[in-house]
Symmetry: C2
Subunit: 584 residues, 2 copies
Amino acid sequence: MYRTNTCGELNLTNVGNEIVLSGWVHRIRKMGGMTFIDIRDRYGVTQLSFDLEVNEELYTQANKLGREWVIKVEGIVKERSSKNSNIPTGDIEIIANKLTVLNKSKTPPFTIEDDTDGGDDLRMKYRYLDLRRKAVRKNLELRHKMTIETRKYLDHLDFLEVETPTLIGSTPEGARDFIVPSRMNQGEFYALPQSPQLFKQLLMVSGFDRYFQIVKCFRDEDLRADRQPEFTQIDCEMSFVDQNEILNTFEGLTKHLFKTLKGIDIPDFPRMSYADAMKYYGSDKPDTRFDMQLVEMKDLTKGRDFMVFDSAPYVGAICVEGCAAYTRRQLDDLTNFVKRPQVGAKGLIYLRYNEDGSLKSSVDKFYSEEDLKLWAERCNAKPGDLILVMAGETDKTRKQLSDLRLEMASQLNLKDKNDFKCLWVVDFPLLEKDEELNRYFAMHHPFTSPKPEDMHLLDTDPGAVRANAYDMVINGVEVGGGSIRIHDRELQNKVLSVLGFTQERAQEQFGFLMDAFTFGAPPHGGVAFGLDRMVSLFAGLDSIRDCIAFPKNNSGHDVMIDAPSKIDKEQLDELGLSLVKLKE
Amino acid sequence: MYRTNTCGELNLTNVGNEIVLSGWVHRIRKMGGMTFIDIRDRYGVTQLSFDLEVNEELYTQANKLGREWVIKVEGIVKERSSKNSNIPTGDIEIIANKLTVLNKSKTPPFTIEDDTDGGDDLRMKYRYLDLRRKAVRKNLELRHKMTIETRKYLDHLDFLEVETPTLIGSTPEGARDFIVPSRMNQGEFYALPQSPQLFKQLLMVSGFDRYFQIVKCFRDEDLRADRQPEFTQIDCEMSFVDQNEILNTFEGLTKHLFKTLKGIDIPDFPRMSYADAMKYYGSDKPDTRFDMQLVEMKDLTKGRDFMVFDSAPYVGAICVEGCAAYTRRQLDDLTNFVKRPQVGAKGLIYLRYNEDGSLKSSVDKFYSEEDLKLWAERCNAKPGDLILVMAGETDKTRKQLSDLRLEMASQLNLKDKNDFKCLWVVDFPLLEKDEELNRYFAMHHPFTSPKPEDMHLLDTDPGAVRANAYDMVINGVEVGGGSIRIHDRELQNKVLSVLGFTQERAQEQFGFLMDAFTFGAPPHGGVAFGLDRMVSLFAGLDSIRDCIAFPKNNSGHDVMIDAPSKIDKEQLDELGLSLVKLKE
């Protein structure tokens, strides 16, 4: 037997017990004729004590152990003379009377501590050692608990978890698919799903009523910092519901997760239209932990011969509390920030509302103190505040103001990781236009239902049609989104044709769904949450990578197992494939 | 609002309530001036009644509905005059006062009934309609419940569910991998996992202690009736345990599933050595719902000049209860059965132990009544029993007797689908020899630990080394299996070299695992269950296909979505691949 207890559970009630523990040598401390060893497992750390005077052989044996060796120890639980109140087992120690080495260990390439000395690359190469660190493991424990609680909640609401296939057909629409050559059908390919969208809709046609699945999805995109080629979705769909019932159901799920995993009661989620989100935050995923809403200033700024404002369709501002004393240098830095290519603005106008009530702007040449007073009023500014103004094309400038708003929030430490502000953004546009290609794309996906009251605009002004589509946003992160789906074949045809699909292509790609709609499809809708993002948000992580056990790097490599890699020519032959000459 | 209630929950306590139901038109019955419509959803069926005399317009509207139309009905719950005790809602009906058609339906290509008139191909093409059938849906409901209960049980035991990657590296060892070309790394490939074996072992090295995952796995094999290219495993691993603790833990899980899903108390599982399983059942997955054990007869049959027996290293029999009166024709059929290429025997000897106590065999020429009496005694035969004897090479003949045993059980209806006999088969051989290739292969996989007491045979007689490996067998189906793993680098090297790996190939393929073993790997072991098989066993299905929502056919096709399929040349170009000319 390897253990009677784990390394995290012994306390004063166990004093006198004969116990067996197994685990890793975490720390070794030698003090005179005593050696103390912390033995560690997933559940905690327990101190072992070896006394030269009591048992010299065992003492000598203990002193030969190295960091991360795997040992089994038999001994007796004793109350400690100097207690450690930082750990649950801090009141006791083990007087060892037998020690067995289960496995030796080389010295790890970095320390197994919360603050490790290992760099990112080294940690990923030895991910199995990195995962020994409590700081990393607790993210995966949280992930486990989140899936357990999600399933519990949805199961209680009669949702059925149904596994949909991983080997499906490729659709050129949307992001790029990973493909899988078929050996039994040479020249043909499966694709890995970007989401189970079509299958979950078919399950609604099947009368499954309430479906969910925690499921791997795949997207062959050029990776950014917070993207992985494989990611996990909490995927859900319901029949015979309107948008409101869906929002309430999954707001309930999210509250349940905050309550059970973080002990936090979240109030009812505000619901903000997409139009308002853009107007007041310049973003469809507003971070509402702090104010600094966008204020429209066009009417106050015109007719003073300031061409930059007069020629712009939009002038907007944010009011930054208590920053009137920003130095010239700090303001220059902000101007440089908005001029970075990632933000792309031409410049930044400021207005200081000084503590003494005076007003000082970078456009004093054009605007009188009276004018500026009106600006300050519009922004609800108080003495001591700083107003930052930008102008240009409406959508672009709002986006730039949003970037500036988030930057100011970072500078002012307003992004509290322990504060969670949740909301629904609703009434998304159905379509967005790619001006270059001069065609419309679905903002969510082609199966999203237009709002009945906007249906008449489909022919005349498709860009103005709003959808029954919604996103859940927490602290500026889009954690999930969904829509009421189209369940009528004619309407689906119509929307696909607005999206530029010919009848033939629509039939070829989505024929089985359109056919299914002719056999009694119920009204339905759903939502999908990004599990990785949700966990990283709950855990306060900056990247999703640390809530994934074995993540890939930015070039899609798993450096630990060295994948992807070359394969034998025989394997390619069997698949009827050959490599074309690689680019030089 | 689409509904106040589901179609499965209204009863006499609701009489008088105003309710709204939504669902599918299941059946329409017209009787005089009354029309009765059964409305169906996932939860049940409720009768709607429309009375010509009360509301002619509504009555006319109801009579225009078709099978599988989706409707919403508003009405009042009323006690039925003629009750139907077969369904939970059979005491009531709905007096409709408003009817809305939510979607029409074409006539489905087969009936949506438990006994449908649809053939397999049609059902698979319209799987979304097939899934409307309760008989199919309840298998998926069972699957959902099984995963919920599995997670509940393992979570309570501190197992953590950890997602391992789906895009991993290819290993030529074992079955064929599905591969996924990498676009970002042209000429390189991911593989889809056949199991998360290496990752779960690494998680043990990481100190995760108890891991599980319900996970999709992939195997590119030529498909047999009961194989799918993608399948689901309940995958588990534990540290600091011996074989017994693993068996007890997962025996506990299985008992929990039988208790919660079927209401059945399963007694403790017998543990049978592989050697005994082969000796008494001729199979490593014995069906123990019935006896008919194999009986060794060699010593009783020799020295009577019957060359077939004398030249055979093995003579064995089964005693079939109550079948002494089998006709000549029936016995010929059995002989033909064992001569089929799938069984491959040369012939079959019989001995009737007639009701009158007389003995009659097909080898009376060689054996006296005294001899045959000894045979009957050895077989514990009673008057009325039939003894069937086969001879030949030991392993082959045992396998043939096993086939015959299962055939007799089928003929005698001994395979009761509601009787569940579980056992562990233990002490599997570590290796099996491929006589053609004259090399050893791992019976489970190369990471299985040899039994310490057999370790000394690794060099001298590798085929005789037993492993700490075990299978869970229920009703003759191997539902799961696993082993204690090697956790020592030297031993792993040794076993890989017995398997014919050079140091270089071992390092190339399993280097990261072998390296991990040098950093303090704990003793560990685990098990994996086939979820599809487990569900189909619980559901009493003959194939795993009906417990999978969207299965593939025997050529790996999903005929509903038509996958796999051809892809655009541009997609291949991006991957740096081209198709070689297809075989004519």
